[in-house]
């Protein structure tokens, strides 16, 4: 047991490191990034992961050594030491510097995500309406304006152009929901009684899952949606197509 204790700490260290090193290969890691903001967020995540790894390895090795040695050496007595101010200042300073560094490094990305001044002036707009337990989307139609007669309403699928800014306004009809697109690294709670802005730029055409991330009742787990990003020409064609469908059939839902 005396020899095992230190080994157990090292085993924990090895297991955690191996597990974290293996997970990206096994696919148990960040999904492939799909929006422009995903890159700085992933870079921050990776940077913090490195800090965590170094901190963890350092502390575990110190702990393992202290336990292994302390459990082996039983003769005589330990030296009575009540502390050391210099050491306290040393590690407080080092840890403090790292924390301030992390705090500073994430400021620009936070601003890009949430600073009202960073909101795109001329992006494609859309309304998101959340309710138990589905997403509805209102697209501006051919005139590019929301709240006009040619608005296109869809259920479950938001259609936006890829490669340019998109500006959403989120509203909820009943309880709090959260608009989460894992591949785009964006998440915004949809609080009833508020119109919450959210903006992003999707890099490549594709379909990305929308997950409701805030508990909204027992159907919460099934409140799925999609974002379909189209290249500009396809997006224009989709808008024209929905307009034609409306003119010929008067269909409300152009899915």
């Amino acid at each position: 047991m005396r020899h095992l204790a230190g080994l157990l700490v090292l085993a924990l260290l090895a297991a955690v490191v191996a597990w974290f090193a293996l997970s990206p290969q096994l696919g148990w890691w960040l999904p492939a990034p799909a929006s422009t903001i995903a890159h700085p967020i992933d870079a921050l995540f990776d940077g913090i992961t490195v800090v965590i790894a170094i901190g963890f390895a350092l502390v575990m090795m110190l702990l393992a050594w202290a336990v292994w040695r302390g459990a082996r050496v039983q003769s005589g007595r330990a030296r009575t030491s009540h502390g050391h101010l210099g050491l306290e200042l040393l590690w407080s300073g080092a840890i403090g510097a790292v924390l301030v560094g992390i705090a500073y490094a994430q400021l620009p990305t936070w601003a890009a995500l949430r600073d009202p001044n960073a909101m795109p002036k001329d992006g494609t707009t859309a309304n998101v309406i959340a309710h138990q337990w589905a997403w509805r989307f209102e697209h501006p139609g051919a005139d590019g304006q929301l709240g006009t007669v040619d608005d296109v309403e869809t259920a479950s699928e938001l259609v936006v152009p890829a490669g340019e800014p998109v500006l959403l306004t989120l509203r909820s009809r009943d309880v709090i929901h959260s608009f989460f697109v894992p591949e785009m690294r964006i998440k915004q709670d949809v609080v009833p009684g508020r119109a919450t802005p959210l903006w992003f730029t999707i890099e490549r055409p594709g379909t990305y899952e929308v997950v409701c991330a805030e508990l909204c009742g027992f159907g919460h787990y099934a409140m799925a949606g999609r974002v379909r990003a189209l290249a500009r020409p396809e997006y224009d064609a989709w808008v024209a197509e929905t307009a034609r469908a409306r003119n010929t059939s008067g269909a409300e839902d152009a899915r």
Binding site: S23, F45, T49, F56, G76, S81, I95, I102
Partner: protein, 602 residues
């Protein structure tokens, strides 16, 4: 009722000190009979044990709820063998979506409010505070008994939720309105939620009384010579946690009263205008409320509550590491300052639970900064713990194993907090399993391991009998391995984007490849739960036939080891005076390698 600090300790309560007190005390106990000894009592030690039994039962109950949650996540919508018929018979032995939401709501509530908090401040707070400061009892013994019975009433209200129409509360332990406040939003938002709120409000009253008692006891009833800077860190942890409760808990209680009023009277503190819930327009007056108001009030308490759940644990660990390394705690004063600054900063970090809720850009920045700062004292404590055992003569008792396990796993829980403190990364990780992994490392890997350490350390004092050390170490080993198998993979689930509180991850294509991981976690959770039987066996065996221990089985310095095991009513059988700090171990301690704090008063 309370004895001022300068009075000789030991004569304030009922213990006559001019008799051979030790024998007199135990005779006294024996005469009282079961009811007067264990049920109707104002003795802080018995009240502590009452709390211990009640909150351990809730810990077990919350653990069983977790097993059902894990069943659903590993094999969604499949029939549960054996217990399925009994518990989920009505829905075809399958957990229904509504039942699932109630499961995790009640799991979280049971664990936070009725297991962990009362284990620390109720059980250990009551048992240890008077003993460690050298007082005969708490400052207000009757108030103390009252706080336990009020706690029990809250527990009854909480459990009654399972038996009302619509079932137990099911809007999460965070009870966010409007989901929680509008009965049309969820089945559990009917009578179940009302009972849940009543339980929380009543519990709030109990906890405030209990905390007040602990604070007054430490301030007013310390033994002669027990200066502030001679208090064991366990006392500091419990004291500051109690002060934190006093500062923050009334806010939650007030918020809970407002939510009750929204539900019962029809006010709209949290309900905005124009809702249409389940095709029903809620019947509320005015309807100009804000759902975010609740989040502020809730987290203003519930974030500090995290520190209430960990500060006493840190204290236990500091003491146990020092005793078993036969060395003083390294940097006692920095440790005290760290406890204080964790508590102070803990009051201004609640906004980090709201980074995605529309908190605003500047507010997000401010709360990010305070959150980063609070990592500093926690990290300083970790380094101090390592320095404490550095070069020690380590005795690997079961208590020491658990205390070392606490340090290792608290580090994991603390470090994963760095991802969550960085706002842009939190936007992605918020409400994913990474958060679940993070707080379970703190609360289970941290606090629960510290509670096991404390039980191995102090149960012999409580019962007068030793636990089996070998069995205790095996219990530690299995618990340590299994709990890492449960909670470590949850990091990966969260990093892959899997949200928490989902009843069925297979709904999303993104989560399909995570199914094997979820099943592994579930199997590990079953092992973890089953392994706890070792501890139950150990305690029962010890109560029946554990070796009798003397006053000071661990050769420790603090005052409780001067009292008989178990101490009688009034605690000490001689008048004590304290003339040194709590951690005099090692080569400078004197004739032996430890120097007790207590001297007989002459």
């Amino acid at each position: 009722m309370s004895a001022p600090t300068n009075e000789p300790v030991g004569c304030a309560m009922s213990a006559p000190t001019n008799e051979p007190a030790g024998r007199a005390l135990s005779d006294h106990h024996a005469q009282r009979g079961f009811l007067r000894t264990w049920i109707i009592t104002v003795d802080h030690k018995v009240i502590g044990i009452q709390y211990l039994v009640a909150s351990s039962a809730m810990l077990l109950f919350g653990g069983l709820l977790a097993m059902a949650i894990r069943w659903q996540l590993a094999w969604p919508w499949t029939e549960m063998p054996i217990v399925g018929q009994l518990v989920f018979g009505e829905s075809g032995r399958v957990i229904s979506p509504a039942a699932y939401t109630a499961l995790f709501t009640m799991h979280g509530t049971a664990m936070v409010f009725f297991a962990i908090l009362p284990l620390l401040t109720g059980a250990f707070g009551n048992y240890l505070v008077p003993l460690l400061v050298g007082a005969p009892d708490m400052a207000f013994p009757r108030l103390n008994a009252a706080s336990f019975w009020i706690f029990l009433a809250a527990m009854g209200l909480f459990l009654a939720g399972f038996f009302v129409e619509g079932g137990a509360a099911d809007s999460g332990w965070t009870a966010y309105p409007p989901l929680a406040t509008l009965p049309s939003a969820a089945p559990g938002s009917g009578a179940g939620q009302t009972l849940w709120l009543l339980a929380i409000v009543v519990l709030g009253v109990s906890s405030v009384l209990n905390s007040l008692n602990a604070v007054v006891t430490v301030v007013k009833m310390r033994a002669p010579g027990m200066t502030w800077m001679r208090l064991p860190l366990t006392v500091w942890g419990l004291l500051v946690a109690s002060a934190l409760q006093l500062a923050a808990l009334p806010v939650l209680t007030a918020g809970g009263v407002l939510q009750l009023s929204d539900r019962i009277v029809g006010t709209a503190f949290y309900t905005p205008a124009g809702l249409l819930v389940n095709s029903v327009a809620p019947e509320v007056a005015g309807a100009g409320g804000s759902p975010l108001l609740w989040q502020h009030l809730f987290w203003f308490y519930s974030h500090p509550a995290v520190y209430v759940m960990v500060l006493p644990a840190m204290g236990f660990v500091s003491d146990i590491l020092s005793v078993n390394a036969r060395k003083p705690v390294f940097g006692y004063k920095p440790m005290v300052w760290a406890i204080g600054s964790i508590a102070g900063l803990g009051l201004i970090v609640w906004g980090h639970h709201m980074f995605t809720s529309g908190l605003g850009f500047e507010m997000g920045r401010a709360f990010m900064l305070s959150t980063m700062l609070i990592a500093l004292p926690s990290a300083v404590k970790t380094f101090n713990w390592i320095a404490t055992i550095w070069g020690g003569r380590i005795r690997l008792t079961a208590a020491m194993c658990f205390a070392l396990g606490f340090v290792a796993l608290f580090v994991i829980g603390g470090l994963s907090g760095l991802w969550l403190a960085a706002t842009p990364v939190d936007v992605y990780l918020h409400d994913t399993y990474l958060v679940v992994a993070h707080f379970h490392y703190i609360v289970f890997g941290g606090t629960v391991l510290a509670v096991f350490a404390a039980l191995h350390h102090w149960l012999p004092k409580m019962t007068g009998r030793a636990l089996n050390e070998t069995l205790g170490r095996w219990h530690f080993l299995g618990t340590f391995v299994a709990l890492n198998c449960v909670f470590l993979p949850m990091h990966q689930l969260g990093i892959a984007g899997m949200i928490r509180r989902t009843a069925d991850p297979s709904v999303y294509r993104l989560y399909e490849h995570l199914a094997p991981l979820n099943r592994f976690v579930t199997w590990s959770a079953f092992v973890l739960a089953a392994w706890q039987l070792l501890f139950v066996v150990n305690v029962l065996w010890s109560l029946r036939s554990g070796t009798r221990v003397g006053r000071n089985p661990w050769e420790a310095t603090t005052l409780e080891w001067d009292a008989p095991s178990p101490p009688g009513h009034g605690n000490f059988d001689r008048d004590l005076v304290v003339d040194c700090g709590p951690y005099e171990y090692g080569d400078a301690a004197g004739a032996r390698d430890f120097r007790p704090q207590a001297r007989a008063r002459t």
